[in-house]
């Protein structure tokens, strides 16, 4: 089956089984390897993307459900000319990136959070990040980055 979706503002077609995880469609079919896989069971959050303005774990999101949807990934955060957005700048300034494997998922979770709540409390930021495992940073610098925005 062919599915039509919008990814980072661009209309794309993806062939595949309706149950194919969206993360596989993004990484393998569309070559957007920014979104990472970790557990493939929705627990680590590395695969977090935004579908119709909601953050989802794309490893458990069937391609069929993304038909006609607006999908945003980490590759769509920076400007066309490569200019980093305020969240990206903030996380780098705060030192909230180490190995970086959790970073794309973290950024998408935080993007969705900030669109719902532009001035979150520390508690709200930490609660939002509950679904993103980060082994390196201990979350502190990531939280500081968001609070500094």
């Amino acid at each position: 089956m062919t599915y039509e979706l919008t990814v980072n503002g661009e209309a794309v077609s993806v062939e595949g089984d309706g149950l194919k995880p969206l993360v596989d469609a993004l990484r393998d079919d569309l070559g957007l390897t920014g979104t990472k896989t970790g557990c493939y069971e929705g627990r680590c959050g590395a695969c977090t993307v935004i579908v119709n303005d909601r953050s989802v774990v794309s490893c458990l999101f069937p391609l069929a459900l993304a038909d006609g949807a607006d999908v945003r990934t980490v590759e769509g955060l920076a400007g066309e000319d490569g200019t980093l957005n305020p969240l990206q700048e903030a996380i780098l300034d705060a030192g909230g990136v180490q190995c970086g494997i959790s970073t794309p998922g973290v950024l998408m979770t935080l993007t969705a959070l900030l669109e719902r709540n532009s001035d979150p409390t520390e508690e709200e930021v930490r609660a939002a990040l509950a679904g993103n495992i980060c082994r390196c940073t201990g979350y502190q610098k990531i939280v500081e980055a968001v609070l500094a925005l």
Partner: protein, 121 residues
Amino acid sequence: MIGRSVRRADGPAKVTGAATYCLDRELPRMLHAKLLRSPVAAGRIVRLDTNRARQLPGVRAIVTAADAPGRGGMFIKDQPLLAEGIVRYIGEPMAAVAADTLEAAANALTAIDLEIEEAPA
């Protein structure tokens, strides 16, 4: 630079998704590996039979401690590469499978006959 807050050089690549990790790379005819990991914290390996798994389509190789003798580790070389005789922690690698696809490698894991006599952790 000393005493100043400096951004890491690979930062921009990581926050834009441009940074490539091993899992993002695809090389022609590359094989995919999966590890069989101990489901228990401690015990004696009674049986670790990879023969059935070896027959599965797409499986190119399966190795165990027998194929990788010796000890490695940081500073003190006391750690086997793959569990030998006993397992010491949940998740300890016991066997490694190389196959044509990730799916074939994952399937092969389920076909490895494993029996561990559990001991108190």
